[in-house]
Symmetry: C2
Subunit: 305 residues, 2 copies
């Protein structure tokens, strides 16, 4: 119920962070790429294979330290349907290793279509003869609430049935997020209105730690809004991107947490994925470098709480 499974895992590992799996091919060590491209003629097949190998290495190195991974759909779609196969295989592998998987798809649509997205990413697809099978089967999905309640209700239904969660974009980490999100609707900015909708959409799905199945994306790059939203949205669990490469630090993300140190999970993608490049270490040690950076990040954030 709510984000109980995720919060329990965060508590067990004492690590409120998530590793973003945004595997651009140029991040993949050359020895992995060379091996894959020598085996497959089709470059999309080869890229998808290289990324899967890279991801598995990262997951192996991170799974006993980091509670969750967040594959970003765009970096799988970019490699065609073969990339989407790698997404499905990555999700399955991470779950096998005990990780909570958040698919970062920022999906949105009208109700009937949102049912299809909910089935695709969190639930099960109706196949022939009444057979129901999961397609991508993540634990949580990021979504965009611009279409209102119709676009969210099919998701909360699946969340309740399958013990899953969603994160709605509230205040995003990018420089231009304020163009719409900071504009005032009467007294309150758009992001506050979206946050209030998250609280409403989450009603009836609150779990044992006090958080509902409807979380919010709030960027580390806007610490004031993080603090304001933490106070305003007591049942909304936060997914916080923007730490590291995008400029947010441990002090910036501290306001995302509640008094118990719950309430948020902080994402780092490039910082972990490219740790071996930044550290200038041998590329065969890419997973070890990722693990070291993940531990550094954990300690950095825990020390600020």
């Amino acid at each position: 119920m709510g984000f109980d499974r995720l919060i329990a895992r965060i508590r067990a590992l004492q690590n409120p962070t998530v590793a973003g799996l945004d595997p651009k091919l140029s991040y993949v060590p050359e020895f992995i790429r060379r091996e894959a491209f020598s085996r497959f003629e089709n470059p999309f097949e080869a890229a998808a294979e290289a990324i899967l190998t890279y991801n598995k290495g990262l997951i192996d190195a991170l799974c006993d330290v980091v509670p969750a991974v967040k594959p970003q759909c765009a970096y799988y779609e970019m490699y065609g349907w073969q990339g989407m196969r790698t997404l499905a295989q990555t999700i399955a592998y991470a779950k096998e290793k005990g990780m909570f998987v958040i698919t970062d798809g920022k999906r949105n649509d009208i109700g009937a279509t949102m049912q299809a997205y909910a089935a695709a990413h969190l639930g099960e697809t109706q196949l022939d003869g009444g057979v129901l099978l999961p397609a991508f089967d993540a634990d949580a999905l990021t979504v965009n609430g611009y279409l209102g309640t119709d676009g969210i209700a099919p998701l909360t239904e699946v969340c309740t049935k399958k013990d899953k969660g969603i994160f709605v974009l509230v205040k995003t980490s990018n420089p231009s997020s304020g163009e719409l999100q900071d504009r005032l609707l009467g007294e309150e900015p758009v992001y506050r209105a979206m946050g209030a909708m998250c609280e409403r959409w989450g009603e009836g799905t609150v779990g044992q730690y006090g958080y509902s199945a409807v979380g919010a994306v709030v960027g580390a790059t806007y610490p004031q809004q993080l603090e304001e939203l933490r106070a305003a949205l007591p049942h909304t669990f936060f997914l916080v991107p923007g730490y590291g490469a995008q400029g947010g630090g441990a002090k910036d993300v501290a306001p995302a947490f509640d008094k118990n140190g719950d309430g948020a999970i902080i994402n780092s993608s490039r910082g972990i994925l490219c740790a071996y490049q930044k550290a200038g270490c041998e590329e065969h040690a890419y997973a070890e470098a990722a693990r070291k950076e993940a531990i550094r990040m954990r300690d950095d954030i825990i020390s600020a709480l």
Copy 2:
């Protein structure tokens, strides 16, 4: 440039409509499903194959009457990576038959990630050794502008380079669209602010018919807003969902067009896809029934202009 290719095709066929390809497996005639499920053991493989056969039949029957198709991503993702392969194959087939393809993905993210989506759906993916290849390669993509300019700029760049277009969600067709979109930012509702951003984002990409490469999604179910937005956004081409099954009629969509009868394309999905069920005709005639409904829809809309 702009939506010139689409507008030229609409004029040539005298038909400002687009067929939505939202192929739920239950819409696919039984003889196609039976054949596919007898050939493939894996139900996702079978479903993907059945949908591809169904789509090809529809495209064959529609391509000399209807200028464009709009595959809805959700109904392909629902069938896993095999469904995404069917999406790629459907796009390629429709283009081969001269149709303009709008991928309805409502994608959105921060700048760096939006580059990946732009590559995936409209541009080319950088593979090993500097090789550039298209992944899904549609002519246009629907997107969500909640993140502001950062999330749109990577797309307009690809649009300019590859003569493609995007449609930004402005006023959606669903019942709850007003929860955020109708709320007032000072004097103007959110959808007007989003519309104004579309005009700005489209600057420098206006084609010979006066429309930019940045279009807008405006629902047929809100005819007043359609009229208001047509007047306010002279360079923004409209993709109008909500005709037919969602309740919009020809009179409702007429205000989407400019004085020359340009400026908009009206979508119908279920109406065309399920025409054979509605007409009660033999399921082998599904494509013929779709064609008949597409012609009826064309005549209905043209008569209201």
